[in-house]
Homo-oligomer: 506 residues x 4
């Protein structure tokens, strides 16, 4: 008993017929999500398929009708044209199915479901994919860090605090620190995945339905690890979206830090790293310039991730429980943040793999002050000076040297004796050889023996363990991807089996 068609061009009135007069076109253009729905079109079609398969299996619609709907749905994600006059993809798809299967049959496409559970499901399906891809980008960046670290286990560079040279470390140690920070970003994404990968389908508009549907079956056909149980919660929450953006915002801080370090270190003044020509830019007016444009763009785009989080949190805050159309406007933020994250992670990997590293310690004598802490430690260890006293003595030594325009390499036993006499009861008598031994920054680095320190031995051990971590991370991705692919295969098989096989006794 199909609806009588009163107008030919009834498209966007699909849902309004009876209840409301036609919407103004400018209003539909304003509220339409058609443009953004392109990203989740395939997901919506798959959800429709799974839903129909389940309806047939549970006798809610007949095999005959269901099969025709499934036939109409087959490959629809490629055929359907989303126009700005469409309220959204759901309407466009229903319209296509009705066109193909007739309203008598196609009019049941949305039986026992709603746009509310459907769109939440589609976003989760797309987001789990995006999470896997961002995870892959992180892992690739981590691999770049490990590869570069392997080449630089002995490249001594200044470690900075307050952007002032502090103590000598290696470039490998620096890169391993970044690896570990990214590993935590990855962990957060993995944990978020398990919260994203739950299926809202069956929640309907908010109260589920009186039809005897099977939510677990739909969840399974769509590759979810389970259902999002409470029907009101299932359609009302966008916390998973905020969580993803929050994780990207934290990652943005980590990634920006690397970009910032490299920008500062590639200045003419620091000279620790150098971008290869192919990754650098010059000026339209100043011919000497070699600018780290690519790193600046990464740094800037990371700010957008934080902006996307704020926009979404502000948007969601103070909304009442239940579906609100505001939700629709948060989704594009998610996709653009995911894309920005992936592009920037990829480009940063390229930069890291190609950047040239220079140890500035050789040609910049003032960096010998990096050994000051170890000098103080030596006084404690070998001359029984309390640490705070040793710290003061070496502080005074540094001051003295700086005032004379000298560096720690110029420290002589007499000066140390002089200074220590002024600051403590008796002068310290140290061999020049001992002084020189401490001031050798490479030996300095190797004198560290603590777990997690920058020495060659620890670097090698840490590298080994992190290569293993990397393998595990890649395996995690593969497992998730396999599960999704296998679910998709099953869904298509089940749908195909039901198409064109009219049940004899409906």
């Amino acid at each position: 008993m199909p609806l009588r068609r009163q107008e030919k061009n009834a498209v966007s009135d699909l849902l309004r017929k009876g209840r409301l007069k036609s919407a103004r076109k400018d209003v539909i253009l304003f509220t339409s999500s058609a443009k953004d729905d392109k990203r989740i079109l395939k997901q919506i079609v798959d959800i429709n398929k799974a839903h129909i398969v389940m309806l047939i299996e549970n006798g809610i619609i007949s095999k005959n009708d269901g099969g025709k709907i499934l036939q109409a749905l087959a490959g629809l994600e490629k055929k359907v044209k989303l126009r700005p006059e469409h309220e959204d993809a759901h309407v466009a798809i229903e319209e296509e199915v009705i066109k193909a299967a007739g309203e008598e049959i196609g009019g049941n496409l949305n039986l026992a479901k709603s746009r509310n559970d459907q769109v939440a499901t589609a976003i989760r399906m797309k987001l789990r994919q995006e999470i896997l891809e961002i995870a892959e980008s992180i892992i690739n960046l981590q691999e770049a860090l490990l590869r570069k670290a392997e080449e630089n286990i002995e490249t001594v560079i200044p470690g900075y605090t307050h952007l002032q040279p502090a103590q000598p470390i290696t470039f490998a140690h620096y890169l391993l620190a970044q690896f570990d920070a990214l590993q935590r970003d990855l962990e957060r994404l993995q944990e978020a995945y398990s919260r994203v990968n739950l299926c809202p389908m069956g929640a309907g508009a908010l109260a589920s339905t009186s039809f005897p549907i099977k939510r677990e079956r739909v969840a399974d056909l769509l590759g979810f690890s389970g259902v999002l149980e409470n029907s009101l919660d299932a359609v009302s929450t966008r916390d998973f979206l905020l969580e993803a953006l929050a994780i990207l915002s934290i990652m943005a801080v980590d990634v920006t830090r690397i970009a910032e370090d490299l920008i500062v270190w590639s200045t003419m003044e620091f000279g620790i790293v150098e971008l290869p020509d192919e990754l650098a830019f010059t000026s339209s007016i100043m011919p000497q310039k070699k600018n780290p444009d690519v790193l600046e763009v990464i740094r800037a785009r990371m700010a957008q991730l934080i902006g996307d989080f704020v926009a979404s949190a502000t948007l969601l805050k103070a909304l009442p429980t239940g579906y609100n159309l505001d939700f629709q406007e948060a989704t594009p933020k998610l996709w653009s943040a995911a894309e920005t994250a992936q592009r920037c992670l990829k480009m940063l990997s390229e930069v890291l793999l190609n950047v040239k590293v220079h140890s500035p310690l050789k040609f910049r004598s003032e960096l010998s002050f990096l050994a000051a802490t170890e000098l103080a430690n030596m006084l404690v260890r070998e001359h029984n000076v309390p640490f705070r006293t040793a710290h003061s003595i070496i502080g005074a030594v540094v001051k003295h040297l700086l005032e004379e325009g000298k560096s720690l390499r110029d420290l002589k036993p007499e000066m140390l004796a002089d200074v220590s006499r002024k600051l403590s009861r008796s002068p310290l008598v140290i061999d020049e050889e001992d002084l020189m031994r401490i001031v050798d920054l490479s030996r300095c680095v190797e004198s560290y023996t603590v777990r997690g320190c920058p020495s060659k031995k620890e670097a090698k051990r840490m590298l080994r363990e992190r290569w293993n971590l990397l393998t595990n991370s890649r395996r995690w991705i593969r497992e998730k991807e396999d599960k999704l692919k296998s679910a998709e295969k099953t869904l298509n098989k089940e749908a195909a089996a039901l198409v064109g096989k009219p049940s004899r006794k409906p």
Copy 2:
């Protein structure tokens, strides 16, 4: 060989002697973290104890010296006075220890460690406590939700989408949805806990140290589950702080939603809930007012959590790797966010336990339209009408009734027949009794049978499972607390054993 004291009032020059002239007092007052360090004073003292115990155990300082330092540290968190002229708590404590044990011995308090690893450790120790307390507050709120839900399994209320009445649900179903959202907030906190509960000690300023310290031992004495390995990462990262604030920001959206719902529902117009007098306020001028001040304050304070996240992310973004004093300014945001979160969660629990619930369905006939979807479903189920057609027919029925100022309770078989004749080929003939059955909103709710639906049976099942969840959550907290208490006991025992027992052969 202690430093010669040149001035009596050398306090804030403890670290500067030798290297720098005295700092200006206004500058110290400006940069000092003394005020905020009060919150982590106990943690800093404990860290010093654990560090000294480890130094003694590994022969880095003698039992005699170490014992005297431990004696000076005993109960120091209560004795030390943090003044605004102190750079920070670390300096104040070292000063006290030197005063008590003399510089010859006390001057080694900071041997093989730095303020950088120490403060990161102290914040993590405090934060893990705060996480447990916030978790407890969430669980208490969840318990309030469950208790209130048990009383309201049959209280039918309108479920809303777009703030328009959508379908009937129960107040219990609403509360269970909020429970589930909070459960995810709790999960995130639990996962964050495992990232917070790692010990930076031993990282020193950034490059560890050349003394043969044992990082695992210190971590263990302080109740951590392990060390934060890479020494540069250990002192440079504040991602754990951002993660905590991000989780609170997401939770803020969930909590605000409850407050918003209750504010709207307690309006004279909605009349679904009513605050008891003791939790409501009136106006200074309008005597009839009963205002939900307490909910508005909760809603507003939740915005502060988001502001704290943004302030911290903006602060940290674009900092170079390594310790920067900027970090110091992010920490107070963490504490104030934690306190705000706990206070608001607690107050919201009180509101929920005490709010009166009214089902507005009885006296507001227009809410009978909530049954419209089920009417359409009935046409599908019992009269073989395609869903989209049924949707249009009922839409037209609703329009008709509204235009006549009537509600769905006034629907008669003839009107349905009339309308359906206009919209489809043949009129629908439905018994008045059937219509009345569907329009009964309580029966409507009970007609849902799907997993996660608002029916009484599902509500009871979901309540049962959530009470179990609650027990597990409480157990998780107890286990973490026990581990921390036991570590503290061990630390104090070990420290006590070393105090006052001079080693005979140093």
Copy 3:
């Protein structure tokens, strides 16, 4: 003496030749601003024209050469194709000019200027236009408010505080309040305009140039009110961008408030306004729904403006002085915010012009409590009761009535006497007629006589003044537009005059 062409496809190497090897294509695609530069292409071409005119006038290049460049520039904004492989529009344009005029002549296009001053100038030119358009959208919305207000001078509605009915006002009064808030947004934009409308040209890369250029002339030809003086400031600051986004963020709060009010007021429960069918939407599943989608979308998009501000502030914060490529990434936020603002303001105007207003006071007796304050005032005025006492008495009266399920319309002299006897020394004896007079909410509104009050008289006066304000605002826009158009005309005339007229004596 042009550069020898070694390769045909030298496009993107225009600036690199000599200094750097070719950039990798993926790197250029990553950093390119070509896509976003489309929005400022016309501005960049105009800047080039003005610059060349000035160079000719000051004898820095010959009329002959300059004329040929101007010829190449004519209409170039329509001809040039911005491809993703272009670093930016500046390069694309220089390339086109060199192609048309040869390198010997075209190679001087960027003499005495830089991309840094040029892009800052172009953004300011585009932004001043956007400001005028946003201003126009605000004014149109204000006009809609005034028009709707004129129809509703006597439509009494509840005024709310804490979302609880407080005192009676009129719908006109409500709309006038929104007008005034928007007027302040408009003022801020007008003030920002004067800071935006200053010309950076001549600042070069940051240090101006050694060529004797005339900055005032270029500024004038481009319609600016003056130059942005300090050359370093001129290219380094993006505060004007932040200011525009900040103003839009504040406006977002004002606009959201209107949307929020209308969403709440269009609920079945409040019933104060009703969206016409053409502006409302229904549900895919619940046929009774009439959802305010368009208002929800406005509310949500306003959050994006705040997100854009945060993204930009976070991006800019902690950048060093001088041009940084990060700037490039903030610009698109500006354009998207401007577009969002305009579209939403326009749609909100449509909603306001078409919304139906119902005074719910007639059929909802409980709203009679809105008169409570005036009842208390009457006791003060006519019965000499201190205000606080009157407030308490009426408070008790309200409580009493509510407990009996009654409204203020049911208040009888006896009840008032009873209650007042309990709360004060003597009972209050008031005529029933007096009570009824006060409880008449329309008379209540007309009893206000204060400046800025909701009475009809004041509404008319305020409307009159605001229509005048509106006229002034429109005049302001016209004046600015005229100045810009006139400058453009002059520029094109001067440029045309110089094209193809080779100076006899170069």
Copy 4:
């Protein structure tokens, strides 16, 4: 006819009596604004005074009663104790006045006004003061910039773009750029002042009042420039608060930039500025360190201003029109932001006045590349080479020199001839003397002649004009302060005249 006191401890029930039972103490402690109201206590007392003066003048209360209330109000801001059990300051003050003057008289304190108009007025009064103080702090910082600039008109430093040395400027030029940015911040504050300085009093709760009050008179007595007209707007808007925070957020970006520049420039590597010992800090472990703690703290605290804006915007967004208690929670953000801003501006002034400036150009030969643009310009000017060609040639020269580890100072005519031969048709023949002239960076700076350029002459002119600007800015503050002081004097005089002078004929 005062209220009968039933309980002694009726304090916090002042407003509830009759209408609501007592509030729970934990609820009052939670919602109370007493702690924050301390900041606006004086303002609230003054508002009460002005209101009572106006009520007497217009015969709304008798001189006798009014005089007694004024007597009770005199100096009350010092006497009243705000306790956490007070809902807010308004209640505490009314309570005190009733205690002093009795309820019969004191009970009229809040006649014809409300907490809603009163608190909005008080915040505006406090904020206009804060704006003047922040403005003063900005001006002081600007003065420090000018003073330092005067000393550094000839101190040539590298100007940077992309943090790479670009062209030579002077330290004075840098400082003048910062002056101009701050001048725009100041302008914004001045413009905001005029929007803040409008008086909401008389708006009542939202609908004004039926008493014949005079709003202009109260506004005048409180030093406002006018009334905030629409009564609903007057109590509902907090845009002035957002505007102030937005301006501070923009200023935060400007201030952070200075801090960031100085942090980078004070590194051992850049060596352009040096903090004096009194403003620097060292490490607890690394004795060589001289850390810019004070600048890092400034940089970090600027992020809080942005966080305060976001918290407030998020809080206000989506609130309905009318007073909501959420407003109360935004106010403390305003005060803390104002304080943070002032303290940081002050400290930054100290840093700038005391920082030592070194021109690194003398001892770092690679900085000679700063002259590259001028070399290219010279080829254009003196050798008729098109600019783009000249740019390429010098680019190749730079590359050549860098590969040989040389600087621009090592450029010889032969090398230039060689390189130019390869890139263009004929070799360029330039005198060594000409080359040396260009490479002299001080002469380079003096070769700029454009308005706003870094040359000595322009610097002097710009300094002169900015000293004048500074004088004007200071005059603006004085004028505003004088107006406020004079209003306060009048208010106190009028109030005093009415105290204790019972009118004979009431």
